[in-house]
Symmetry: C2
């Protein structure tokens, strides 16, 4: 066991050549005598030697590493994004460096500092902490942008200084509302997300606006709690279905994401409410478990795979500080939790 890592000089000495020749062999340069090449290769193999990419990175100024900054890899939506990004990156000889920022923390100067310090080839921000309305954050990202290209999933703005990838949920949300309206639903609620519904992003605004278009009342005041996990969904449903008089309770639930929907479905079941007969539920993200909930969850698909892959592509082709907006339309995937498909009765 060698405590000290074997270097190109160790290989060179042992093969009786110079370091430059070892490099040439490593790089398959044609200008090496076959005998020399073989001799060097044998030594390399004997040691299992691989040139230090740390040193290579320093020399080339290119780490071929992309930083993924996200709240938690445990959220399957982020995991999908990371997985897709990793596949794309790896196919191009790049790899991923993980940076989880727990939801209770935020992007600080320290975080940006350590991203800069890493001399990454790019940074991919996923998660709602990229709030482009906060000037301090904009400043931080501006600074970071001087060092590497940035892609962030966030609502588009003018002149962001980085590449913004955006899910356009508007069409899907309106479609969902209209769909449920057509089925006779008149009382809607959106559960989970930010504490104030209005802060839950474009999806909430589209939702509220579509209610207006359909001349439906705004969601009742039941004390929106927010949150992004199953527990949040449970609590919201509990609140809605117990604090409100029966005739005010919503019959259609749009969930901030599928995790919230999972908790909502469970709570409804526990309360003896049937989905979709008593309450319709729609999720968001179209996560892997949607086809397998009871009933299968109607959800909004975000083209996660494509988003993740194209983020890497943009990162690798973009000059630093380029402003751009990439929008992808989300689409409603209708399953059985919204009462659209017939046949669910068979499985009661």
């Amino acid at each position: 066991m060698s405590l000290k890592n074997v270097t190109i000089y160790d290989i060179a000495r042992e093969a009786g050549v110079s370091a430059a020749t070892v490099t040439r062999v490593l790089k398959n340069s044609p200008s090496v005598k076959e005998a020399t090449r073989e001799k060097v290769r044998r030594v390399i193999d004997a040691h299992g030697y691989a040139p230090s990419s740390v040193a290579q990175d320093l020399g080339s100024g290119n780490t071929k590493t992309i930083g993924m900054i996200l709240p938690s890899i445990r959220n399957p939506y982020y995991a999908d994004l990371v997985s897709a990004a990793d596949a794309e990156a790896r196919s191009r000889g790049y790899s991923l460096w993980l940076y989880q920022i727990p939801p209770e923390e935020e992007i600080t100067a320290g975080v940006v500092g350590s991203l800069i310090a890493r001399r990454l080839s790019g940074a991919f921000f996923i998660g709602s902490f990229v709030d482009v309305d906060r000037p301090d954050l904009r400043l931080l990202l501006d600074k970071l942008g001087k060092y590497m290209p940035i892609v962030a999933i966030c609502p588009p703005r003018e002149d962001l200084g980085f590449i913004c990838m955006y899910h356009n949920l508007d069409g899907a949300v309106r479609q969902a509302v209209r769909h449920l309206h057509l089925l006779g639903h008149r009382r809607f609620a959106m559960i989970g997300g930010a504490e104030r519904l209005e802060d839950s992003g474009a999806r909430a605004l589209s939702f509220l606006d579509e209610l207006r278009v359909l001349d439906l009342p705004a969601p009742p005041e039941y004390g929106h709690l927010g949150g992004g996990d199953p527990a949040a969904g449970q609590q919201e449903v509990l609140r809605l279905m117990t604090r409100l008089p029966k005739e005010q309770r919503p019959t259609a639930l749009l969930c901030y994401n599928d995790l919230v929907a999972l908790g909502a479905l469970h709570q409804l079941r526990q309360m003896g409410l049937r989905v979709p007969e008593d309450v319709a539920v729609i999720g968001c993200d179209n996560q892997f478990f949607c086809p397998f909930t009871a009933p299968p969850l109607t959800s909004i698909d975000m083209q996660t795979e494509e988003h993740g892959r194209s983020a890497i592509r943009e990162l690798l082709s973009a000059p630093k500080n380029r402003s751009a907006t990439i929008v992808r339309d989300a689409s409603l995937i209708i399953r059985e939790s919204c009462g659209a498909k017939l046949g669910w009765q068979d499985r009661g």
Copy 2:
């Protein structure tokens, strides 16, 4: 926008000091005159300068980075492990470098080469591809072990040359079988996993042995397919419940993992079979969605958080090539899919 990264020399020149002094300021060395310190700091802040950790790594020979090698971050079990590992690593000033190896690929010399090239501080292998029975793989890991400490989740062996973390499922699996036996179940099957049930690791062996202990017949020949996702669970159930005559069909299903169980639950529901009345189902991994399936899924908890954290701790305290085995007992978390809890009738 500076195309060239700003270096410590740029800062030094602009502040009218030497690079060493900049380092001192960066390191909060006490031996710097206050005036100098402030002057340097101002320049640093103005540039948003952060010293290149690539250069630091090269100099110190320590990348403070741990490689995570796994099949897919999309499996929530691995995501949990990575998340826990990341938290532990970050709290110690280390970070994680992701290396996904798709299930159809394996650990090759190339993979090991790029791990060595990265000069990682350690490697954490998670996923069933660490098959310690394969001599070629052992060789590869031996080589890797010369460069960095290794922790792998795999069955224990003598003298592995790295740290083996192991889930002891034996107790939980036997407990599950006995529990179901007590409830009157006599026909058991394990679904998902490796193509040959016997290759699905210790959990399968414990399962088969416990059947023997209870003097129950071995699972019928229904053509075990294997697999680790919901689709596999669906297919296995479909097979079991259609290819076999009714009196041979299993009434108790142990699933390779919770994803398989998710698919199984869904398929059973679709076929009009009730869980747990007609068929009992038990999963494995105790993933986040278990409490929210219909009915809530009984599962085997793996202490994922603890496993992930302690893997990092071991990695950072272990000399290279140390052999060790860390075993943690898994435990059965009884919910409603195995018919243990009364009260499920309320929710039919």
